[in-house]
Amino acid sequence: MTHVTRWIALGAALVLVAFGVVLALNVSSGPAEEGRLAGEPAPEFRVEAFDGEEIVLSELTGSGRVVFVNFWNSWCIPCRQEHPALVEFYERHRDDPDFAMVGIVRDDTESEARAYVEREGVEWLVAFDPGKHAALDFGTTGQPESFMIAPDGVVVAEQFGPVTVDDLELMLRVARGQV
């Protein structure tokens, strides 16, 4: 009887120590958010540009271009924070023949999105995503989320949250195979 109690106690102690180690590992690492798409083929999307035309990802990449996709909303504060970076980045590369940039409205009303584009003078392609198919296919969990897609259709970089010009330049160089 005695030794039974002790053996059970020893077993319980070992299990608990193992459990404690697991918890400790989690404390030290903390929950990590990692991209799933990087290195994977980008999901195809068909979205509707503000001017009514259809934008198809494979047609953009198919013509040998790097495509930068940015999911945004007018009401999202981090999106507004990153806006100047997007403007500057676009100004630098708008004339590059191998570059395209698409902003996809993730979760917003049409008029507010149009008003924002008007007000901020957004000149790159912006599009609505009816049914949120693109947003879901890219596995977005919020906004802004940005994806750089190489001409072969593979996502080379993704970022949750606001980007800086340096981030974008690095992503572009990776997509062009310059890194």
Partner: protein, 673 residues
């Protein structure tokens, strides 16, 4: 100034704890009573320090002293007074302060209650353990999570304000304190369990000492969990009240093991069995409160209720390790002496029912624990990110819950030792037929779902058994004492408050179980898009969107949709679900508007702000019987309260305790040795 004062009080609390431990330990070693008594006086000093620290914090909060980081981060000038006061437990550091306050209160009350037995080594060891826990929490605040730390740099003109979810409903004032009163209360049985192990007096004496405090803690925890569910229902706006969220689970875990203990303790009291098991349950319950604290405060788990990530995780984990390993070590050390020669006379008896009850509660706790920590295991062992949610918990807990309900219907009717088939027939046959009859009625009325129908039947079974028992006791009292029904009823209940309090708790559980089954099984939920003055019909309710009203205060900007509700042509009034935006948050916080009814609630949520065309998206849910959840929890709390009343056996009257303790019970004399 307040910062210095507060930090000083924390240091004072810690020092008082340390000195108290030293003093009591010296007293135990030298056998000198005066050291032990002095040590116990330090306990009151710990309470004084905690009260002082809380007072300083409230003072700082109410005077908007933004030089203190905690104040700057958790209140704003525009925050209403109620939520300024409640900001004490709105964030990590303050919540530990509240914890320390509760602990001080429990420790002081315990020492005061046992003042006549200050020389008793059992009480001495319990005091040491309690002070050690206090020392840990004061140390934690002093070194790792000081609520009084000053803000670096310039003092801001205004604070950030509480998390929007925490300043949106007055229940926030009651839910956390109740929950903590429950959590912290389990420290007292833990203290005595450690003391029993340390002194080698693990007979039944310590159980009698902690029985009432355990009930207090259990009652508070029950109410705290209930209020938490109610808060979720009224604030979070998804139409439910329990999402098996890690933080909810963290409060449910000690409740499960605590409930198991409240039952198995009776076996030990009556029959002197299950000593190791009871000690283990007490240790597990306390450890689970610490584990819950760790999970919610170390940032390892995502949850709506979780506090922000902080550096106290390792300390809490270390403390958890010390607590559990000490407990297990002591049990192993005392293993030989803990042996009891158990005898169970018959498989159908109250004792064996309690064994099964404990098995089910322990299994339930394991299910909840596994589900809660499984994502952590998966991440640590396989680097996989996994979620565990409602589908898992529901499919595991429904069978266990139904089995528990069955046991709850049968077990209180079983006599101790052995049940003859005559007794079983007398006590169970009619209630069982009432239960089956209820199932038949439910089927005739069109009820669906096996779990639902079983719950209704077993609930009726249990309730009928309780009613029978109360009726029999009242009747026999009436016959022997020739009293009227009401007097006989009151005196019968008064004669054994523990039994009838327990049965009242069971009645509350029946109510909760039925409400859970109905609301989870028969929920109707729709999302509708409405333009102004447009109507739609959901489950017999006609909802019409009247207009949008905007209200702006310094605290928040609220967009309300006024919704007229009709049913069967009769006007039920106008309800106004809303979305509020707070200056310190980017996304809006929805506040549902609930029409509470005895049979069903109409739950309206404004899902999205009106579009430019003025259309809104409205979530409409019809939740059956949700009100009865809160009623059931209240009944459970009342029952726990009743069970704490000391028994009074008046004069000649016969007390109907259906199973008096067997005469051969060997009880350890309380407070002697």
């Amino acid at each position: 100034m307040k910062s210095t004062l507060g930090t000083f009080l924390l240091a004072l609390g810690g020092a008082a704890s340390a000195l108290g431990i030293a003093s009591v330990a010296l007293g135990l070693r030298t056998d000198e009573a005066r050291w032990r008594r002095a040590g116990q006086r330090y306990v009151h000093l710990v309470l004084a320090a905690a009260v002082g620290a809380v007072a300083v914090m409230e003072w700082a909060l109410l005077t908007h002293d933004f030089s203190i980081r905690y104040v700057a981060e958790n209140v704003a000038r525009a925050t209403p007074t109620l939520y300024t006061v409640t900001a004490l437990w709105g964030a990590l550091e303050g919540s530990i302060l509240l914890w320390a306050l509760m602990l001080g209160v429990y420790l002081s009350l315990t020492v005061w209650r046992f003042r006549a037995r200050a020389d008793d080594p059992l009480v001495g060891w319990a005091t040491i353990t309690g002070l050690a826990v206090a020392l840990f929490f004061f140390g934690l605040m002093f070194f790792a999570a000081n609520p009084f730390s000053e803000i670096g740099g310039r003092v801001p003109l205004d604070g950030a304000g509480p998390n929007p979810l925490l300043q949106n409903h007055p229940l926030m004032a009651f839910h956390p304190p109740m929950l903590y009163a429950g959590y912290v209360g389990f420290t007292v049985p833990f203290m005595f369990a450690i003391a029993a192990l340390a002194t080698g007096r693990f007979g039944e004496g310590w159980l009698a000492d902690v029985r009432r405090t355990t009930l207090v803690a259990w009652g508070f925890l029950t109410v705290g969990i209930g209020l938490g569910a109610w808060w979720s229902y009224e604030v979070l706006g998804w139409g439910g009240y329990w999402a098996w969220d890690p933080v909810e689970n963290a409060s449910f875990l000690p409740w499960l093991t605590g409930t198991a203990f409240l039952h198995s303790v009776m076996v030990q009291e009556r029959r002197g069995m299950l000593r190791v098991w009871n000690l283990s349950l007490v240790l597990a319950t306390f450890s689970l409160t610490i584990l819950g604290t760790f999970l919610t405060r170390s940032g390892v788990i995502d949850s709506v209720h979780a506090f922000t990530e902080s550096s106290i995780g390792p300390s809490l984990l270390a403390f958890l390790g010390v607590v559990t390993l000490t407990g297990i070590g002591l049990i192993a050390w005392r293993g030989d002496a803990l042996r009891t020669r158990g005898t169970i006379d018959a498989p159908v008896s109250r004792e064996s029912a309690f064994l099964v009850n404990n098995l089910l509660f322990a299994g339930f706790a394991l299910v909840v624990l596994m589900g809660t920590v499984f994502p952590l295991l998966a991440e640590a062992l396989q680097d996989r990110r996994i979620s565990v949610g409602e589908p898992y918990f529901e499919s595991m807990s429904v069978p266990i819950g139904i089995a528990l309900l069955f046991l709850m219907a049968v077990a209180p009717m079983l006599p101790w030792r052995a049940a003859s088939s005559d007794v079983l027939r007398d006590r169970l046959l009619v209630p069982a037929w009432i239960g089956v009859g209820t199932m038949v009625v439910a089927l005739v009325l069109g009820a669906e779902g096996v779990a639902q129908v079983c719950t209704f039947g077993l609930g009726a079974f249990a309730a009928a058994g309780i009613a029978r028992q109360v009726f029999v006791a009242t009747r026999s009292r009436r016959q022997t004492a020739s009293e009227g029904w009401p007097v006989a009823f009151a005196r019968a209940m008064r004669g054994n408050p523990r039994l009838y309090g327990g049965l009242l708790v069971h009645l509350g559980v029946v109510v909760v179980a039925v409400a859970l089954a109905a609301s989870a099984g028969y929920l109707e939920k729709r999302e509708v898009r409405l333009a102004r003055n447009e109507s739609t019909e959901v489950s017999g309710y006609r909802v019409t969107f009247l207009e949008i009203v905007r209200e702006e205060t310094d605290q928040k900007t609220t967009t309300k949709a006024r919704i007229a509700v009709e049913r069967d042509g009769s006007d039920l009034g106008v309800y106004a679900p809303s979305i509020s935006t707070f200056p310190n948050a980017t996304t809006g916080i929805g506040t549902p508007s609930v029409r509470t009814g005895l049979l069903e609630d109409l739950y309206l949520t404004l899902v999205s702000s009106p579009t430019e065309e003025g259309r809104i998206t409205l979530g409409v849910a019809v939740n059956p019987m949700v009100l009865w959840l809160w009623i059931g929890v209240a009944v459970m709390a009342l029952g726990a309260l009743g069970a704490m009343v000391p028994a009074r056996r008046t004069g000649h009257a016969l007390v109907v305790d259906d199973d008096p303790a067997p005469p051969d019970d060997v009880r350890e004399p309380v407070g002697v040795r």
